[in-house]
Amino acid sequence: MKLLPLLLLALAGPALADSAQPPAPYAYRQLEDARQEARARALMEELRCLVCQGQSIADSDAELAGDMRHLVRTRIKAGESPSQVRDWLVQRYGSWVSYAPVLGPETLLLYAAPLLLLLGGGLLAARRLQRRRG
């Protein structure tokens, strides 16, 4: 008798936090023009899925990621450039939505770090070489 609730539980379907609507037309379909599709694809790999947060929209099966792919593909199809589409999203969600960081006050250190490290390493190496020569 104790088994019955367990059996019933096994039969129960999980409650899905997803809509009953079909995916958007261009969520899982490529653009007809291969060159446009290549550009859309490259951009989709650099856009962050809004609800999964660790994945690009190219990688994610979340419904909103599908809708975002549809948005990217329809805008590229309509003749917009990938950077226009990216800017449109950044305007709404901030640079957070893009995996290609733009140069700004928040990212200055990110871009300056390689130069600083190279400079520091160069100074160390130069001092070493001088000492050896001397």
Partner: protein, 176 residues
């Protein structure tokens, strides 16, 4: 004495690393994504009616001189059920509420309204989340307060709960 100090460096690095990890574990980053359109005019859109007998929603409807609460909901969204009675209460207090149904069908929306109350003046349907993205919203439920000139004044992310009512009412008054 000097070489021994050098030996302590990995330990110091480890201590910094552990402190950083501990700090992030104790105060995790906020995962909600705020719209950057607060203070900006509402993007243009025209949505079809979500249920028969209920007016459709266009961006022009949200520039009619009176502030409006724009609620993004869906019949498949569980927290939307939690906020439904609070929206009904806000409507009773004079807040005019329009809605956008995200990825939803007319039969499901009609059932949701019948079950959980219908405080909405207009409901537009956004089956592919395209207007949701134009608004800089990343989930349901979310609510925006739009003033009479169509400028987005406030965004509430997640369900509007009873404790949020004073804030919503204050923002609503400010938008007048």
């Amino acid at each position: 004495m000097k070489p021994k100090l050098w030996l302590a460096i990995p330990l110091i690095v480890l201590a910094f690393f552990l402190a950083a990890v501990g700090w992030r574990l104790s105060s995790p980053p906020n995962p909600t994504v705020k719209s950057r359109l607060i203070g900006q005019p509402l993007p243009e859109f025209a949505l079809a009616a979500a249920v028969p007998g209920k007016p459709a929603l266009t961006s022009a409807d949200l520039k009619a001189g009176e502030p409006r609460l724009l609620n993004l909901f869906a019949s498949w969204c569980v927290p939307c059920i939690a906020e439904a009675p609070v929206l009904v209460d806000l409507r009773r207090r004079g807040v005019v509420i329009d809605a956008i149904a995200i990825r939803d069908g007319p039969a499901d929306i009609a059932r949701f309204l019948a079950d959980h109350g219908d405080p909405f003046a207009r409901i537009g349907t956004d089956p592919q989340s395209q207007v949701q993205m134009a608004l800089g919203s990343s989930g349901v439920p979310e609510s925006f307060i739009v003033d009479g000139r169509g400028v987005i004044r406030y965004q509430h992310i997640g369900p509007v709960m009873p404790q949020d009512v004073p804030t919503i009412l204050a923002q609503w008054e400010q938008a007048k």
